[in-house]
């Protein structure tokens, strides 16, 4: 602060002073992360609408199969394990990036990507299986809401995977620069956020779906 007092009379233009105040007074230090957080919150609202839709339509079976008849909970337990594991491996990637260890960062990101891919593969297998059994999204209100909610989450994981692979190439090319670390921090928020949404999915859709 003493530096500030000393320099203003010393020849900072009014414009420079204004610019400094505009930046310092109204914006937090890491604006990108705040902006990304607000994007995630808007994503939260999309999921809230889909959860509300599922809550409203989730018992309208139209004479078709119910959740209890369709869902394979051991499959969902394994998938939940994949996603949870990928959360901690991404955490280790962040710790490695923080310590400026490029190789370890890429390694942990690779494992995270494989776990994400495993999650997606199981989900696609489940969807394919359901559609094959005649329980596709057009069968009943329940299945429409189910595919919309779970499918939207799956799409998010897919985009997260694409982002992860892209960032691995960026890191390989440019190293752990401040820009790349910021991108990694945003992806970290995104990836963990998907795990948080999945808690709602496995609880409300799958576990409650098989309860009588």
């Amino acid at each position: 602060m003493s530096e500030l007092k000393a320099t203003i009379p010393g020849g900072l233009t009014a414009e420079q002073v204004t610019a400094r105040y505009l930046v310092r007074e109204h914006h937090p230090e890491q604006g990108t992360l705040l902006g990304f957080w607000i994007y995630l919150m808007s994503d939260c609202l999309i999921f809230a609408s889909l959860f509300a839709t599922y809550a409203v339509l989730g018992r309208n079976y139209a004479g078709g199969p119910t959740g209890a008849e369709l869902f394979d909970l051991s499959l969902i337990a394994i998938n939940t394990g994949f996603l949870l594991l990928s959360s901690i491996t991404f955490g280790f990637a962040m710790i490695s990036a923080q310590a400026k260890k490029l190789g370890a960062t890429l390694g942990w990101m690779g494992i995270t990507g494989l776990l994400g891919l495993a999650f997606l593969s199981l989900e696609i297998y489940e969807f394919q299986h359901l559609i094959h059994e005649g329980a596709g999204p057009q069968r009943s209100g329940f299945l429409t809401a189910f595919f919309a909610l779970v499918g939207t989450h799956g799409l998010h994981v897919l985009f997260g995977f694409v982002w992860l692979v892209t960032l691995m190439f960026q890191l390989k090319k440019h190293g752990i620069t401040p820009e790349n670390f910021r991108r990694l921090s945003c992806l970290s928020l995104f990836w963990h956020f998907l795990d948080v949404v999945w808690i709602g999915v496995f609880t409300f859709v799958y576990l409650m779906g098989v309860l009588p």
Binding site: L45, I88, G91, F92, M94, I95
Partner: protein
């Protein structure tokens, strides 16, 4: 816990900056807690341990606790992140979320109950409400 996650730094103007510090301990604690909080609901449902109505409330409780655990340990959420603005955005979102979810369920439940005479609102077996005009 905030000691592990954030440490104060000073930029060149002497402003306090909160920098997220990613610690292995936080991730491991968060992971183990999440694992336990996931395993118990799956066990309760798959093993038919409790009556269905009780199970429903218990697993909802476990989900709520796990969301908070992951927010704290994985998303590093606290009142200081980004100068408190993250928390503001979160609070606003939670308010909107409650309005959307509770409002939809409440309105649709009453629509269901009032527009399906003779079915007592429990239209979940043969004739879905979506068949009605």
């Amino acid at each position: 816990m905030s000691d592990h996650i954030h440490h104060h730094e000073h930029d060149h103007d002497g402003h306090e900056v909160y920098v997220t510090h990613y610690s292995a301990k936080d991730y491991i604690v968060g992971f183990v807690l999440s694992l336990v909080l996931t395993a118990i609901p799956f066990w309760l449902v798959m093993g038919n341990v409790l009556p269905a109505d009780t199970t429903r409330w218990v697993i909802m409780g476990f989900a709520a606790v796990q969301v908070v655990v992951q927010m704290l340990y994985f998303l590093h959420m606290n009142s200081k992140a980004e100068g408190g603005w993250n928390m503001m955005a979160l609070i606003l979102t939670v308010i909107l979320l409650v309005i959307v979810m509770a409002g939809s369920i409440w309105v649709m439940h009453h629509m269901n109950a009032n527009m399906m005479p003779g079915m007592g609102g429990a239209s979940d077996t043969t004739h879905g409400t979506h068949d009605m005009p």
